[in-house]
Point group: C2
Chain length 427, copies 2
C-alpha cells in the first residue's frame, strides 16, 4: 500500500472523496458505540457472579482470627485479605493495608493527606510554595486530575518502550526538592500497555531524590491482567528492590480487584514499607472505623489464593483477547504502511495507545463522535488535557461487544484516514 505521505494532491483528493462517502454512510446508521473507558464488558462481569453466592445467611462470617466481620473493628484489613492481596502485590501481608472499594480513592487520599499533614513528619505540602509531580506521558487521566485538583504542578516525562525516560526522571528528581512524586502504571501501562523493563525498575529504586518526602506512586492496576497466558510481561517487584537499594520508604504500591471481580465493588490495597503504612494508619484511624470486611471475606472465600485469581483472570483474557486482536487486526489491515499512525501491541491491561500524525487526534475523536463512536477525549492522556502534539488517542476495547467493536474500529480507522488526508492537503 502506498504511504499517504507519498501521495500526490490529486491522489489524496480522490481518496478523500471515496472515504467521505463511506463516512456519510456510517453516519447515517446512527450508531452509538463506546470505546472510551476501561470498563469490563457484561460478559466479564458474568464470570464473577459466583461471588454473589459465597456468603449467605448460614455462613460463618468470622475471619480467621475469630473477629466477627459483621461488626466494627479491624481497621487495616482482615488477615486473609491481606494475604490474598499480598500475593497479588507480591509482598508480605505485613506490608499490606486493605482499603475500601477503590484504589483511586486511596491515591487521592494519599495526596490529600500529604497536603494537610505531610509525609512521615515532613512539611505539609499546603505549606510549601510549590509542589510538583512527574507525569509519564501518555498516562492515566484520573491520576493527572488528582494532582491538578490539588494545584500540584505537573511535568511531562516521555514514555519509552521500556518505561518513562529515566535519564530525565533521575535528573529532575535529584535536582528539584519541589518534586514530591511520580505517577506510574508500571505494568501494561495506561494507555500504552508498556511494562517497565528491569533496568527501569532498578533505576527507579535507586533514585536519589532531593526531597525526603518524594514518593513513587506505583499504581499496579493491571498486575495480573494478562491477555496471553504464555506470553505475559514480567515486572520486578518494586518494594523489595527499593529496600535492597536502601530506599525502603520511597514507594507506595496500589492495587485493587476492580477489574478482577466487580468494578466499584472490589477491594483495594496499598503495599509499602512499615514506616509508610504507619503514616497511612495515623490518618485512617481518624478517617474511618474500618472498611467493609464482609466484602473482604467475600473476595477471599471466592478467590482463595493467587492461583484462584490467576484462573479467574484467564477467563477474563478469553473474553477480551479477541477484542484486542480484532482492533489490532483492523489497525494493521487498514492503516499498516500508510505512515499516518502508530499503535501499541500490549500483552495485557485494558488499552491500546494510538498515535496519529501531529495535530490530528482531536479531529479524529471529533469525527468518530459524529459517526456515533465515543473515544476517550483527545488530550486526556496528558496533564491538563494538553497533548502537545495532539496525536495520542486511547483505545479501550473491552466494554463493547465484539460486533460493536468491529464497527467502532472500522469507523475509527476511517476517521484517522480522513483526518490525515486533510492534514496532508493543508500542509
Amino acid at each position: 500500500m502506498k504511504k499517504y505521505t507519498e501521495m500526490s494532491k490529486e491522489e489524496l483528493l480522490a481518496l478523500k472523496q471515496e472515504l467521505e462517502q463511506e463516512y456519510a454512510q456510517v453516519k447515517a446508521l446512527g450508531l452509538s458505540l463506546d470505546m472510551s473507558r476501561g470498563k469490563p464488558g457484561a460478559d466479564q462481569l458474568d464470570i464473577s457472579m459466583g461471588m454473589m453466592d459465597v456468603l449467605n445467611h448460614e455462613t460463618d462470617l468470622r475471619c480467621e482470627t475469630g473477629v466477627d466481620c459483621r461488626n466494627y473493628g479491624v481497621i487495616d484489613g482482615i488477615p486473609e485479605a491481606k494475604r490474598l492481596l499480598g500475593e497479588m502485590s507480591e509482598v508480605d501481608p505485613d506490608h499490606i493495608i486493605i482499603y475500601g472499594n477503590s484504589s483511586l480513592n486511596v491515591m487521592f487520599d494519599t495526596v490529600a493527606r500529604s497536603m494537610t499533614h505531610g509525609v512521615m513528619g515532613n512539611t505539609p505540602w499546603c505549606k510549601l510554595d510549590k509542589v510538583k509531580f512527574l507525569c509519564p506521558v501518555p498516562g492515566y487521566d484520573r491520576h493527572f486530575k488528582i494532582t491538578e485538583f490539588f494545584g500540584i504542578e505537573m511535568i511531562n516525562v516521555p514514555m519509552t518502550p521500556t518505561g518513562p525516560d529515566m535519564d530525565m526522571v533521575e535528573k529532575l528528581v535529584s535536582e528539584d526538592p519541589a518534586i514530591k512524586g511520580i505517577w506510574c502504571v508500571p505494568k501494561y501501562s495506561n494507555p500504552q500497555g508498556i511494562t517497565y523493563s528491569d533496568e527501569t525498575v532498578r533505576r527507579f529504586a535507586r533514585l536519589k531524590p532531593a526531597a525526603p518526602d518524594f514518593r513513587i506512586y506505583w499504581d499496579n492496576a493491571y498486575c495480573i491482567h494478562h491477555l496471553y497466558a504464555d506470553n505475559h510481561d514480567f515486572l520486578i517487584e518494586i518494594l523489595g528492590e527499593c529496600e535492597r537499594a536502601g530506599n525502603p520508604d520511597m514507594v507506595y504500591k496500589f492495587t485493587s480487584t476492580s477489574k478482577v471481580s466487580f468494578p466499584g465493588s472490589g477491594i483495594a490495597a496499598v503495599a509499602a514499607s512499615k514506616a509508610n503504612l504507619n503514616d497511612f494508619r495515623k490518618y485512617m484511624t481518624m478517617q474511618t472505623i474500618g472498611h467493609d470486611k464482609l466484602n473482604q471475606l467475600r473476595h477471599v472465600r471466592y478467590f482463595k489464593n493467587l492461583e484462584g485469581l490467576h484462573a479467574h483472570m484467564k477467563k477474563h483474557a478469553l473474553l477480551i483477547r479477541p477484542k484486542f486482536e480484532m482492533v489490532l487486526d483492523t489497525l494493521d489491515r487498514e492503516l499498516g504502511g500508510l505512515g499516518i499512525g502508530e499503535w501499541t501491541r500490549p500483552h495485557g491491561g485494558y488499552f491500546i495507545s494510538f498515535d496519529s500524525m501531529e495535530g490530528c487526534a482531536k479531529d479524529i475523536v471529533a469525527r468518530a463522535k459524529e459517526a456515533g463512536v465515543v473515544m476517550t477525549g483527545a488530550g486526556a492522556t496528558y496533564p491538563y488535557g494538553k497533548d502537545p502534539k495532539d496525536s495520542n488517542i486511547r483505545i479501550a476495547p473491552t466494554f463493547p461487544s465484539l460486533e460493536e467493536l468491529e464497527q467502532a474500529a472500522k469507523i475509527f480507522v476511517l476517521c484517522v484516514k480522513l483526518s490525515s488526508i486533510d492534514k496532508l492537503l493543508a500542509a
Copy 2:
C-alpha cells in the same frame, strides 16, 4: 438511703471497708467485659443475616434506571438508594448523595476538603490563621478527633436537656468568623441520648454566622434508632427548617445504616442543599469512580422502604431495650439517692451518660478496668480528651450479653461508690 455526702467519716470508712471486700472478690473473678464502644451485639447482627441472601448469581443486578451495578458508573448513588436514605433522612432524594460504608469517613473528608479547597468558593481553611469548631459537650469522641487532627481549635459548648446552650452558640457564631462549624448529634445524642427540642432546631436554622462558610455538621446517626415504639423522640427536619429560615446552605446532614444493617458494611449518605451537594460532587469526581453499588442494591432490596427500616429497628430495640433498662435499674437501685452521680434515661441511641462527682471519672474508669470492665476512656466525651470536671462517663450497653452487662453494671456502681467515698474522705 443516706446520702454519702451526709455521712460521717466513720460511716464512710466502714462502708469503704465493706465495698473494698466486694471489689476484691470481683477482681478475683478475672472478668473481661466491655462497655466501651457503641457496637451492636452479635444477636443484633443476626437479625440482618437475611441481607446475605438478597443477591445471588441469578439476581438481576441492574438498578431501576437499568444501570449494571456490577460495573463502574453512577458516582452519587443509585436512585433507589437515594430514595431509601432520603426517606430515612426525611428529605427528597434530590438532596441526597450516597457514599461508601462510613458516614464518619464522609465527615472527615468534608473537613479535609474544606481545609484544602474551602467551602463553596470560600478560602481554604488551610490558608487561614485560625479555624474553630463548636463542640457541644459531652459529645462524640471521633468527631473531636477529626477536628483535632486538622488543627482546628475546639470550643466547648455545654449541653442542656434540650440540646446545646443556644445562647452561647448564637453569640459565638455571630461574633467570630473563625468559627466554621459545630458538631451535632441531634437525636439520641452521643453520649447523653438527648434529642434537640423544636426551639433548639429552630434557633439552629436561624443562626446568623459571621463566617459565610459556617456549616452545621448534623450527624443524625440515630435517626431511627428508637428504644420504645410508643415513646420515641421527635426531631424537626433541619434542611427544611434552614431553607424556611433563609439559610439553605448552612447544614450538612449525615446518616448511615451502620447500626441498622452491619457496622462497616452499611451505606452512608449526606443530605444537603443542591449547592452544597454540587460542592461535594466536585471533590467526589476526583476522589473516586464511584462507591459500592452492589451494596446499595443489597440494602434497598432487603429493606425496601422506610417501613422496612422501621420494622427492622423494632427488632434491634427488642434486643437492646432490656440492656438499657437493666443498666438503668442497676444505677437507680444502687446509686439512687446517694448524691454521688447522675445519669440520663435515653429513649433511643446507643449510650447512657453518667456524671460522677467532680474529679472521680478517671478514677472510676481505672477501677473498673482493674476489675475487668472496659469503659470508654474518661475524658473521651470532651475535645482533647479533657473533661474539665473529670465527671462524665459514657456507658455503652449494647455489645455485651445481658448476663455480662449485669456483672459489668454491678462492678461499675461499686467503682462509683468507692471512688466517691475516697473523694469525700479526702475533702
